[in-house]
Amino acid sequence: MARVLAVSGNEAVAEALRQINPDVCAAYPITPQTELMQRFSSFVSDGKVDTELILVESEHSAMSACIGASAAGGRVATATSSQGLALMWEMLYIAAGLRLPIIMPVVNRALSAPLNIHCDHTDAMGARDSGWIQLWSENAQEAYDNTIQAFRIAEHMDIRLPVIICMDGFIIGHSIQRIEYLEDSEVKNFVGEYKALNPILDIDNPKSYGPLILPDLFHEYKRAQHEVTTNVKRVVLEVAEEFEKISGRKYGFFDAYRLEDAEIAIVILNSAAGTSKDVIDEFRDRGIKAGLLKPRLFRPFPYEEVADALKHLRAICVLDRSDSFGGYGPLFLEVSSALCQLESRPKIINKIYGLGGRDYLPQHAEQVLEELIEIAKTEKISIIKEYIGVRE
């Protein structure tokens, strides 16, 4: 029997970590993630988990300790946000390059400057090329479900890669939502016993992690890493299928909402998808064929599947909650890359919204959909990339 509760996103993910009971967790507090690890550290203090919680002096050290613990042969998790993730930057590449299945919820927050503690996606987008798998979550339920599935994906013997689970800071991290928890035994059975691959603590078989690899082999190691990444999509679907059996909740590469017969659509990540879906329903009531695509698996990006889901549309707007200054938004770049392989493709525009926690309101979705109606009619785009919800 599922337990139905009202909890914050941070609380939900902390509960998932309690149920999984990792061997080691090294973390450093940072808003808006702090509550997540604070709740988990209470589980440690109260003896609810067997986890060795390592309190470190920075996020760089947190990730370093996670890397050491994972290479030693433990099941390892941490969590961070914003500047914390930025400070981990060099260690992120090392975790992925060493093929260590570390799990890290990222409670998305803007990066300085100016200093800001509220939600946007700049932090996780900065980790885009680090080799970590990225799962994005619309709400607390999806963040909880993604966290549990992440362990199975990361630890799969065909993968052995670290996973980031994104949820929106404050909007999801701190707001109370309805959630269905799985039973402890169900989660325990689902994630299974941890199987280490080449653990350092297997002292009968000594080994070295982190050797210098020069130009005669480095290119080959990266090619091998690329190959592993191509296995991720298959495993994500296999794990989702098994997860559906215990939860009744269905997950794939993305959520396609009223997209099948749509003519115009919004592509958007995380919590803002919920607001957009409401507005899409209103437009549908007016007889306008609007839809939405919300990516869940952002790394590796499912290019073929996204292109297939969007190819019949007339106009698309990709909304990015982060900017690449001097470039288009990161989600827009991916969707454009997916579509450019098609013989003919929808018109596509990019809006930057919600930076530093600026509210994404129904009127913003309305404004975007009205513009898409116009583009679908005239087949003309005036501005490709534009900020919305911004004062002149």
């Binding site: 691959l197 080449n198 080994k207 070295s208 050797p211 005669d216 082999l217 080959e220 190959e227 592993v228």
Partner: protein, 97 residues
């Protein structure tokens, strides 16, 4: 030696064979060469103890010649060498000379 292709590599570049540093000769990195002067040597074996690699050979409990295949010329042995009556038993000499 045939170089491995990308399908033949261990995950994460982990080295599964212990003690393989022996196969990797690092002596060519050296800019300064340590030279052992036997008459100044008191057989303290500090050089053997301090050498970060295995470049100092010991035979029957006594200091023997350098194994220059593994000496990077760090100079730690020369620094630590107490010598005899103020005369060092290890001195560093520029490789090009």
């Amino acid at each position: 030696m045939k170089l491995k292709g990308w399908k033949e590599l261990t995950p994460g570049a982990v080295i599964l064979e212990a003690g393989n540093a022996e196969e990797f000769k690092t002596g060519s990195w050296r800019a300064f060469r340590p030279v052992w002067i036997e008459e100044n040597c008191i057989q303290c074996l500090f050089c053997w103890l301090y050498c970060p690699d295995m470049a100092i050979k010991v035979k029957d409990g006594k200091r023997a010649e350098y194994d220059y295949d593994y000496c990077k010329g760090c100079g730690i042995c020369a620094l630590e060498c107490p010598g005899k009556k103020g005369q060092k038993a290890i001195v560093m000499v520029e490789e090009s000379r």
